[in-house]
Structures are given as structure tokens and as C-alpha cells.
């Protein structure tokens, strides 16, 4: 199957903004036009081929290689296709994304999947802050879609998210699920502090005990029915969530009472 492959030739001195590197843009262009696409480096604009070796054309299967830590906005607003990155990426990976898939064999910067509306992002390393979050001043973060972070996630993960799922394999830093309005955040290795601060609705599921704010109340122990369904969905993504009542139980905390909100935090307690 055809694909477009981009190899970073040199690491830029300052961040490179590459919102043109999306399956949507590349899938309709012949090789020459891909090479001529613009990149923004600080105040200057460059052609893609000044920074990347370009192979292939007209494909929504895109593969990137290299240390892309300083490359921002990869997969911005993409609606289809697949973007695979071998290396670390910079900020705003898959921000405003609507569909398709991003797979990063490496770590990503801040704002992964910020304000995304659909699609799947898988970061196999760590992610920076504001995963799936709302940009400053906006009232709603991610509206749908799925983000999987195998490693740790930074501050304000899922800030103001409304729908969709974020799964974090490593530890989540402060303010996970800040002002959350809906959707699910799964924390497989727990979190630091202030999880669920000011949450209005939505669900946070943690496999490890959490240090909660005093404005969360313990409600009950239970194994909610929807979790079985949710666990099955996650299973397809390679994430396993315990649901057997024989193995343990979820403690339900509700809050944040300071809002007052109707969010739920479920903490797994194995027997």
C-alpha cells in the first residue's frame, strides 16, 4: 500500500510548526507539491523538503521518522487516515483532530489531542500537560475520540473534556480531570494530587488509591454495569480493566462539592 514517508533531516533550533503534515493534506498531493508544502519556523517559512526527506505521494498513510520534539501541530485537525511517528513529537499533536489515527512510538509534548472531536491517538511513551484539554479560555476540551498514553501524563489531563476517553498507563500529574464535564479518564497507575478538581460530571477510574480533595465524598462500593461494557471497548484497544466482583470492588467518590458537581471517581480495591 502506498504511503508518504517523511524523515527529519535536521533538528530545528526553535520549534517548527507543521500543521500541513496531516493525512488530509498529503493524500491529495503529488510528490512535488508535498515537497513544496510550507512549514513555519519562528517567523520564517520553509518548504517541507528543507527539513524532511520526502518519499511517496497521494496517500493518507503517513509515516514520520526522527527526533520531532520541536515539531508542533502534527496531525492538526485531521479527519482520516493514519499518521505513524517513530520518534518523539512536539506540542499540539492531533489537536482539533476529528478522525483517523495517530500512533507515536515515542513521547509527545503538551496539548496532545486538545479540543479533539474524534479519532484515536496512541502515545507509547509519555505525554506532556493538557492532554485532551481545552485551550485557554475555551469552556470545552475534547468532545469525543480516544487518547491512549502508555507512559505518564502531565498537568491538567482531560481539562474540561466533555466526552471521549483518555487512558493513561503511567502516573497522571496534578489536576487530572480538572473541570471535567463528561467522558472518562482511566488512570492505570493512579495520579499525583488534585484529581478531579472542580469536576462537574464525567468519570475518573483509577486502579490505584488516590489522594482526593476534601470536597469529594465517599458514596459506596460497587461494580457498575456500564463498566463491563466499557471494559470490553477498552479491551479492543489493548487495555484491560478489572470488572469481576470476585477480584475486587470499586469505591465510588462523588464531587467536586465545591462546584457543586456530580462527577464520579472510581477507585479499584482488589480483594
Amino acid at each position: 500500500m502506498s504511503q508518504v514517508t517523511l524523515r527529519l533531516k535536521q533538528t530545528p533550533d526553535v520549534p517548527l510548526e507543521a500543521e500541513n503534515i496531516t493525512p488530509d493534506v498529503l493524500s491529495d498531493l503529488p510528490h512535488d507539491e508535498i515537497r513544496a508544502l510550507k512549514l513555519q519556523l519562528g517567523k520564517r517559512t520553509f518548504r517541507i523538503d528543507e527539513f524532511f526527506e520526502v518519499e511517496g505521494e497521494r496517500s493518507d498513510q503517513v509515516e514520520l521518522h526522527g527526533d520531532l520534539k520541536r515539531v508542533k501541530w502534527l496531525g492538526r485537525g485531521m479527519t482520516r487516515g493514519r499518521l505513524v511517528v517513530h520518534g518523539d513529537t512536539g506540542m499540539h499533536l492531533g489537536a482539533l483532530m476529528k478522525g483517523g489515527e495517530i500512533d507515536v512510538h515515542g513521547s509527545a509534548g503538551d496539548w496532545v489531542g486538545a479540543e479533539m472531536k474524534g479519532g484515536l491517538i496512541h502515545v507509547r511513551g509519555d505525554a506532556g500537560g493538557q492532554v485532551g484539554a481545552a485551550y485557554r479560555g475555551a469552556t470545552v476540551g475534547m468532545k469525543n475520540g480516544t487518547i491512549l498514553i502508555d507512559g505518564c501524563a502531565g498537568l491538567e489531563t482531560g481539562m474540561r473534556m466533555k466526552k471521549g476517553t483518555i487512558v493513561v498507563g503511567g502516573v497522571v500529574k496534578d489536576f487530572g480531570g480538572l473541570q471535567m464535564k463528561g467522558g472518562n479518564i482511566v488512570m492505570l497507575s493512579g495520579a499525583e494530587i488534585r484529581t478531579g478538581a472542580w469536576m462537574v460530571r464525567g468519570t475518573i477510574i483509577s486502579m490505584l488509591p488516590l489522594k482526593l480533595l476534601p470536597t469529594f465524598r465517599y458514596s459506596c462500593d460497587y461494580n457498575p454495569g456500564f463498566l463491563t461494557l466499557f471494559a470490553r471497548q477498552l479491551n479492543r484497544l489493548g487495555v484491560s480493566l478489572p470488572v469481576s466482583a470476585a477480584a475486587g470492588v470499586y469505591q465510588l467518590f462523588s464531587g467536586d462539592c465545591s462546584v457543586p458537581g456530580k462527577g464520579e471517581i472510581l477507585v479499584w480495591q482488589p480483594h
Partner: protein, 265 residues
């Protein structure tokens, strides 16, 4: 007057009530207060970790609600400790919510002379208060991405002009290292840590002492400056204008047809 701090300071004497909280518990305390204001339950066992009792906090809430006109003054102890902007946001929200019961406002205590003026001017010229990037020819804003410490620590800028500040004395070491690595230009009346690591240092007149102009008080009231001395050095205003004029003589990097607007939504 109620004073909240992590240690007994000289201000304790001036206050009627002193609430000593544990370091790093600002956000927790304010969030509890928000719940109590709305008569929502809080987990008492966890309240203790803040260093205060539920009674103290409830009493504080009752007093705030009874006040005719309340003001929160807050400083860098709040905005620069763990939680940062969220600590400030928490206090602003609490102030807003208290207006359901009485009149309440919140005001940041600004540490530096005219930092308020910088906020105000950037807002009217660019729409944003700080952390603004012009790389695409129009203002973009994202604290964390375009804020100075983050930019310097990540090494995301390749020259710097420092005005009326001494980051060489106050910023984290990796940020200072980057300033020393790139060409830095410093305008300052004196020799500073920053001027020593700069490639160019231009001595300027001291603001309000030998340089005239305007300064904003932290409540956004502009005040005229009345210098008492005549400086042998030019003012910051003059030097910046001259640098600007010198830059204007160079070819413009922004070409017609070379414009890419990247609105984020």
C-alpha cells in the same frame, strides 16, 4: 483583617485573625471554602491536612458572608506555588461566588512596579495579557508554550531583549543558561546578573527617577511619573524606539503571499 500564610510574618500583628496553613495547601483550602460557601459537605478528616480546622474555615466563611464589602489580596505565595494559575483561579472563583451573598472582589498584589502596565498594553494591542507570539504576523497566546521560563528552559528562542527585569538573578538555572547561550540584549540602569551574561548592555535612565512617562498601579489606575533627576543616559523608551527604527531599515521578513494564519479553532 484575616491573614492567610504558611508562616508567621510581620503582618500577623496587623491582622485580626491569622490562619496558618500548610505549604502547598492553598488550592485545597480555597476549594473547601467554595464548598462551605454553598453549604456543601466536605470530608472533615482531610480538612485537617490543610493545617486548619473545619470550625476555623466555617467561621471564615461566615465572616466573609457577613462582610459588607470584602477584598481578597493575593500575592506570589499563591500564584507561584504548586497549582500556580489554578490557585489564583480558585480565589477569583471564590470571590465571584461570594457575590451571591455580599460584595466581594479579588486583587492580585503585583510585586513589580509597572507589570500591570505591561498587561494592560499588551491586552489592548494584541488581545492577550502576556505570553504572545508574533511569528505568523499576528498575535497568538498560549501560556506554557510562549511563556518565558518555558521557552528558555526548552531552548525555544534564539535571541532575547530584556527590559526592566533581571531574569539572570531570578529564573531557574537552565533558563539562565539558555540566555547566556543566545545573543541577549539588556537595557538596564545598572549592571545586573542579566547584563553580565548579555552580548549588548545599554545603560538607560531609571524609570520614575530620571525617566518620565506613565506607570499603572496594580488596580489598573494609570499615574504620571515625575522624575526628580536628569539622567545622562537615554530612556528605555528612546532606546527601544531606536532599535525598532534600526530594524525597520532591514528587509521585512514578512512577505505578501507568505502569510499563514493558524487560527486554533
Amino acid at each position: 483583617m484575616v491573614l492567610v500564610d504558611i508562616r508567621e510574618t510581620k503582618s500577623v500583628k496587623a491582622s485580626d485573625i491569622f490562619l496558618q496553613i500548610r505549604p502547598g495547601k492553598d488550592f485545597e483550602v480555597i476549594t473547601i471554602l467554595r464548598a462551605l460557601v454553598k453549604e456543601q459537605p466536605v470530608d472533615e478528616s482531610q480538612v485537617q491536612e490543610t493545617g486548619l480546622t473545619l470550625e476555623q474555615l466555617q467561621d471564615f466563611v461566615d465572616r466573609m458572608k457577613k462582610a459588607k464589602f470584602g477584598v481578597f489580596f493575593f500575592g506570589m505565595g499563591l500564584s507561584m506555588t504548586r497549582g500556580k494559575h489554578m490557585n489564583s483561579a480558585a480565589l477569583l472563583t471564590l470571590a465571584a461566588e461570594l457575590n451571591a451573598f455580599t460584595k466581594f472582589v479579588a486583587m492580585p498584589m503585583r510585586g513589580h512596579g509597572n507589570v500591570t502596565g505591561a498587561d494592560v498594553i499588551m491586552r489592548w494591542q494584541t488581545g492577550y495579557p502576556f505570553a504572545i507570539q508574533f511569528g505568523r504576523g499576528y498575535p497568538r497566546y498560549n501560556p506554557g508554550e510562549f511563556s518565558t521560563v518555558d521557552l528558555l528552559v526548552r531552548g525555544d528562542v534564539d535571541a532575547a531583549l530584556i527590559l526592566g527585569a533581571d531574569p539572570g538573578a531570578t529564573m531557574p538555572q537552565p533558563a539562565i543558561d539558555h540566555l547566556a547561550r543566545i545573543p541577549t540584549i539588556c537595557l538596564d540602569p545598572k549592571v545586573t546578573h542579566t547584563s553580565r551574561l548579555s552580548r549588548v548592555h545599554i545603560t538607560t535612565a531609571a524609570t520614575g527617577i530620571s525617566a518620565p512617562g506613565t506607570g499603572y498601579r496594580m488596580d489598573e489606575v494609570p499615574l504620571p511619573l515625575r522624575p526628580a533627576l536628569k539622567s545622562p543616559y537615554p530612556t528605555d523608551e528612546q532606546v527601544v524606539r531606536r532599535i525598532h527604527e534600526a530594524v525597520l531599515k532591514k528587509p521585512d521578513w514578512l512577505q505578501q503571499g507568505n502569510r499563514m494564519a493558524l487560527n486554533q479553532v
